[in-house]
């Protein structure tokens, strides 16, 4: 008995030691601990992406998810679809206009926030609100503010005699897209401003002061000194904001659902409309695949930014 017990204990010891020993190798330890994260990402990001690629060349539907291989039929159909073309154009208009407005307003807001003033913390918290409340809720509040009958904006307008009846912001083609961009700028402005504040306040004051003593005006100081120094962080923040805006459907979906007459769809909302609402997985996947090239460029730029920083 004693012998068996001893050998069992011995074996346990050996196993324990071997296992512990294996984990003591830096390599094994590293791979074992990082494995769950990698497995999760492969199973729920990489593998689904593969399925999405497969969907684009099949006629899969929600009812029959396996579908048959149809080659480029989806692509042809999509490229022939006027709503899709409109959505593609809208996506770029939406992203680029929002981004431009955010950069201009964000820089202004950043310099405002950088000054020391009373109640700074409270005011900052108020200004951050659009970004800190859930995006769906912010979009819904705007939907209510732009309501055709009860719009508070129109109430003010009519009251001050700017117009007799206010425009139907979300129901008329010419105003709907502008409203969507406005809400998106409202939502992302705090993020842009805060990133910029963080960047600008990291610029050594001595350099700015030296330049200012040398007679450099504000804009010159900004362009020639601050921008180059904060460029890496600016890049990454811009990229995130760009990618998130480019692929977003929440604001569009909650404000207009792509209406009036499908004029305000973006790629993401149209993919949702086709893939889930209409149930055509193949068509939907093909539409959302058009998001991919931009993502890829984004990822590559990001990679370069990260790499160059690691070298310092």
């Amino acid at each position: 008995m004693a012998e068996i017990a001893r050998s069992a204990a011995y074996r346990r010891g050996v196993v324990g030691r071997t296992f512990g020993h294996l984990l003591d190798s830096e390599k094994v330890f590293g791979y074992v601990l990082v494995a769950p994260a990698i497995i999760y990402i492969v199973a729920l990001v990489a593998y689904p992406f593969g399925i999405a690629l497969w969907f684009t060349v099949t006629n899969a539907t929600v009812a029959e998810p396996l579908g048959r291989f149809t080659g480029l039929a989806n692509l042809m159909a999509v490229l022939d679809d006027d709503v899709f073309k409109r959505a593609l154009a809208n996506t770029f208009i939406f992203t680029l206009t929002s981004q431009a407005l955010q950069m201009v307003l964000g820089t202004t807001l950043a310099f405002v926030l950088l000054r020391k003033f009373r109640f700074r913390r409270t005011i900052r918290a108020l200004i951050l609100l659009p970004f800190t409340i859930p995006v769906a809720i912010g979009a819904m509040a705007w939907n209510w503010m732009l309501n055709p009958t009860y719009s508070v904006i129109n109430w003010v307008g009519t009251h001050f005699g700017l117009f007799q009846y206010g425009p139907n912001w979300l129901g008329e083609e010419k105003y709907a897209m502008a409203s969507i961009i406005l809400v998106n700028v409202w939502r992302n402005l705090p993020f842009t401003a805060i990133v910029l504040t963080a960047g600008i306040s990291a610029v050594p004051q001595e350099i700015v002061e030296a330049a200012s003593l040398d007679g450099a005006r504000f804009l010159t100081r900004y362009r020639k000194i601050m921008v180059p120094i904060i460029a890496p962080i600016l890049y990454i923040a811009l990229l995130f904001s760009l990618v998130f805006t480019f692929t977003d459907m929440t604001v569009v979906w909650l404000l207009t659902r792509g209406n009036p007459v499908n004029s305000t769809h973006v790629l993401a909302s149209y993919a949702f409309q086709q893939g889930i609402v209409a149930g055509s997985l193949g068509r939907g996947a093909t539409i959302s695949l058009f998001l991919f090239p931009v993502l890829l460029v984004g990822a590559l730029v990001m990679l370069r930014a990260l790499k160059s920083r690691q070298l310092d």
Binding site: G20, L23, E26, F29, G30, L33, V34, P36, A37, I38, I41, L44, V45, Y47, P48, F49, I51, A52, F55, L109, V112, F117, L126, I127, L128, L129, P130, T132, I133, P134, V135, A136, I137, M140, A141, W142, W144, M145, Y150, W155, L189, I194, V195, A198, I233, I236, F240, F244, T247, L254, A271, G275, I276, L281, A285, S288, L291, A299, L303, L306
Partner: protein, 299 residues
Amino acid sequence: MATAAAHIPTAPRRSTHSAQYRRNRVLKEVGFWSLLLVFVIFAAFPVYWMFVTAFKQVNDLYNLQNDPFVFNLAPTLDQVRYLFEHTPYAQWLRNTVEVGALVVLVTVVICVPAAYVLSRTKFPGSGALGIGIFLTYLVPPTLLFLPLSQLIVGLGLVNTRWALVVVYPTFTIPFCTWLLMGFFKNVPREITEAARVDGCSRLGAMFRIVLPISVPGILTVAIFAFTLVMQEYVYALVFVSDSDEKMVTLGVVTDLVRGDVFFWGSLMAGALIIAIPVAIAYNFFMDTFVRGITGGALK
């Protein structure tokens, strides 16, 4: 503007300051505060509007003759009561807490070890893996919801909140791993080396030395993961259509609309109740968030 004027440093007043100089100074202050005011109104008005809408009586809310900015009739809690008595709002809150807690658990269990080794050990491919995980954060829900919906069918989780527990870590893991890497990097290498020399195993050094002093970082990440879950809309919309299984954000913006009729009062009340706690939590961690997203470019 009184506050602004009071804020001008009044210390040793030099007589050399001309009237011109002082006038410019005041003008500058006025300009600054007006600009700030415009930004504050733009940012915060929608939230004020939610607040006013949520507590107004229906007769007041839908009367176009009334000044919409103030309470013309006494404020009421009717909308909030309606929310809890006639809609599944309480159930949505429970669902959100349940899903949030589970996602946080999955996220922390997976992220802590990954972030630990990616930030503190060197092995072939460790750098690439770290960047790879970070880049996954760029993959948007709108690219993946179609295939994931079929994966959810395969797992038999259609139309349940459990589907969200499976899917949400796809975005919490990349972001939280990256954030945690920043925290772990700041723990000096010397203490783990000392522990190793004293005969502590690698695993032991992690559990007994580094994790205990990183508790604040891990808590931050947990709260973050939870707020990300509360913010999410697209996956919730795609995977859950059963009213009783909904997350609160989705429930509020979909179920309080019957056909084309919006129940604006209760909608805004429901929105406000969740927006405020999320906003406070986020506000508190905003700088950490920015640091995380910029990859720690700034110290």
